[in-house]
């Protein structure tokens, strides 16, 4: 069955590049750019993996992740977090919020693909 990935990111050209790479990998990609409505969209799409940017308009990636972990339906959803801030403090915040994997911008396509493959296969 086709695996679904949801990408929540507000930078259009990053969305385009990641969508292209993941589609080529045989994954179905849904995209969304607004933090405020992200969780509603997520529940409607029911993806197998969420790729989540930290700095989003309306609501931060950390807040979205925390809400998602409090909901029984999405508590176990693998989440790959993307951020331009790679300090250990940011990583700790993401871990406390319940992230599955964490990547710092600018990352390589190969690095992203390897992490996505692991997460959709059920690993962390």
């Amino acid at each position: 069955m086709l695996k679904r990935v949801m990408l929540i990111e507000d930078e259009p050209n990053i969305i385009e590049a990641i969508s292209f790479i993941l589609s080529r990998e045989g994954l179905a990609v849904d995209t969304h750019s607004d933090g405020t409505t992200a969780n509603d969209r997520l529940r409607a799409c029911r993806p197998d993996l969420l790729i989540l940017d930290v700095m989003l308009p309306g609501k931060s990636g950390y807040d979205i992740l925390r809400e998602l972990r409090e909901d029984a339906d999405t508590a176990e959803l693998p989440v790959l977090m993307l951020t331009a801030r790679g300090q250990s403090r940011d990583r700790e915040m993401a871990e406390r919020a319940g992230v599955s994997a964490f990547m710092t911008k600018p990352f390589s396509n190969a690095e992203m693909l390897a992490t996505v493959r692991t997460l959709v296969a059920g690993g962390v």
Binding site: I14, I21, M55, A84, K105, N109
Partner: protein, 433 residues
């Protein structure tokens, strides 16, 4: 041990540095080696011709042997020891240390001075990084753009065919993103380079105005000479952004009104008597304390009362004017200490609050802070007044008996603990946050 009793130690130190044996120095100074040994261990006093002879043989001024390290070095070492009280440095043996190991003592004193300088830099940079939303946004924007370029370029560089439509889209994206990156990096570079200059191209308009005041030592002579605020703002603010020029004009209008109410020649005469007391100055000119504070803060640096600092904030606590003192920094963007009387004044309008303050973790002296909040404009029917607070800072009088209250600059670099006003943990390690 007193400094003048360490002459022997200094002779020994100097002799060893020169690689001279004790016996040789004894022979050349025509005394016995055992007597020299007693002198070198400070068990015999030395003076007169023998001291002059030994100093000549060792190639130093006699005073270097009798007085040892200079007072400044001793003071620097004392400050270093007081700064690290938990180190258990033997303050009672400070002179002995400086006298016997002048090189190490100098190194320690220089290191302490360098630490002090670096701490100040860290303070400034931390403030900038932690509370400068423009810098944070600019860096985030650049990293996101680089990510997009890197990702698209990698796709195009991969072996194998890519659909021509996708190829065109990624080429276009790279072109657009690279133009964006060039623009944002140029903007960031000029923002960083412009620090401290009046025309910070990417700085906030408020910072541009602050830089102009700072460059003028906060005294705008053309306005005191009767210049029209609009014309003076036009001339001095020619290099500023349009928004900054508008802010400057408003600031100059207020300055000119203050100068008209408290003319410079009369104020310079008055402060000889009133000093930096804004209430006394306000009474003398029949004006309000806030205006007197602003006038004191904008006097020429040569004014007989000395320099004062000033912070003005609006009812939300955002600074609209800041003139820091070396002993009392005022951070940008209102990320300052909630314990300052400036903010207490907002909850007690029309009351003059006076406090003696000391900045936590700093070696600087205490300051007297006088704070006062009043409506920012004239009263209007059925409209709540909007308050504005002023806080003037001046070095505390040496004789003051008031125990200083410890306040911070900004939480990130404040060691004060425990603190009910703390917003975030300190980089200096604050327990119990």
């Amino acid at each position: 041990m007193a400094r003048d009793t360490l002459t022997g130690s200094r002779i020994r130190e100097r002799r060893i540095i020169l690689g001279m044996k004790q016996a040789e120095l004894a022979r050349r100074s025509e005394i016995s080696a055992s007597y020299l040994n007693l002198i070198e261990h400070n068990r015999r006093r030395i003076g007169g011709k023998l001291l002059l002879d030994i100093a000549e043989i060792l190639g130093v001024e006699p005073s270097m042997l009798t007085e040892g390290a200079e007072a400044a070095l001793i003071a620097a070492l004392r400050e270093a020891a007081l700064h690290a009280q938990s180190s258990g440095a033997e303050l009672d043996r400070l002179d002995e240390f400086a006298g016997r190991f002048p090189g190490w003592a100098r190194l320690l004193a220089d290191s302490r001075a360098r630490i002090e300088t670096l701490e100040r830099s860290v303070e400034a940079l931390t403030d900038r990084l932690a509370h400068d939303p423009h810098l944070a946004d600019a860096l985030h924007e650049m990293l996101s753009t680089v990510t997009a370029i890197r990702s698209a370029a990698s796709i195009l560089a991969e072996p194998g065919e890519i659909d021509p439509d996708w190829q065109r889209r990624f080429h276009r994206n790279i072109y657009e993103d690279s133009a964006r990156l060039a623009e944002s990096s140029r903007s960031l570079a000029s923002y960083l380079e412009a620090e401290g200059k009046a025309a910070a191209e990417s700085g906030t308009p408020q910072e541009e105005v602050e830089a102009l005041f700072e460059a003028a030592d906060y005294h705008i002579a053309p306005l005191d000479a009767g210049g029209l605020p609009g014309e003076v703002a036009q001339e001095l603010g020619a290099a500023l952004s349009p928004t900054a020029r508008a802010l400057l004009r408003r600031a100059f209008e207020r300055y000119a009104a203050d100068a008209a109410a408290l003319p410079l020649p009369q104020v310079l005469e008055a402060v000889v008597v009133t000093g930096t007391d804004p209430l006394a100055l306000a009474r003398r000119f029949g004006t309000d304390p806030a205006r007197a504070m602003r006038r004191l803060a904008t006097l020429p640096p040569s004014a007989p009362c000395g320099q004062v600092g000033l912070a003005i904030c609006d009812a939300s606590g955002v600074f609209t004017f800041r003139k820091p003192l070396p002993d009392f920094p005022i951070p940008r963007f209102g990320a300052d200490c909630p314990l300052w009387p400036l903010f207490a004044a907002l909850s007690r309008p029309m009351s003059v609050l006076s406090r003696v303050l000391h900045s936590a973790g700093r070696q600087s002296g205490a300051v007297t802070a006088i704070a006062f909040a009043q409506p920012a404009g004239p009263p209007e029917i059925n409209r709540e007044p909007v308050f504005e607070a002023h806080m003037m800072i001046a070095p505390a009088r040496a004789r003051t008996e008031e125990r200083p209250e410890e306040v911070g600059v900004t939480c990130r670099i404040c060691p004060r603990a425990p603190c009910p006003a703390r917003r975030e943990p300190s980089l200096l390690g604050e327990p119990g946050f």
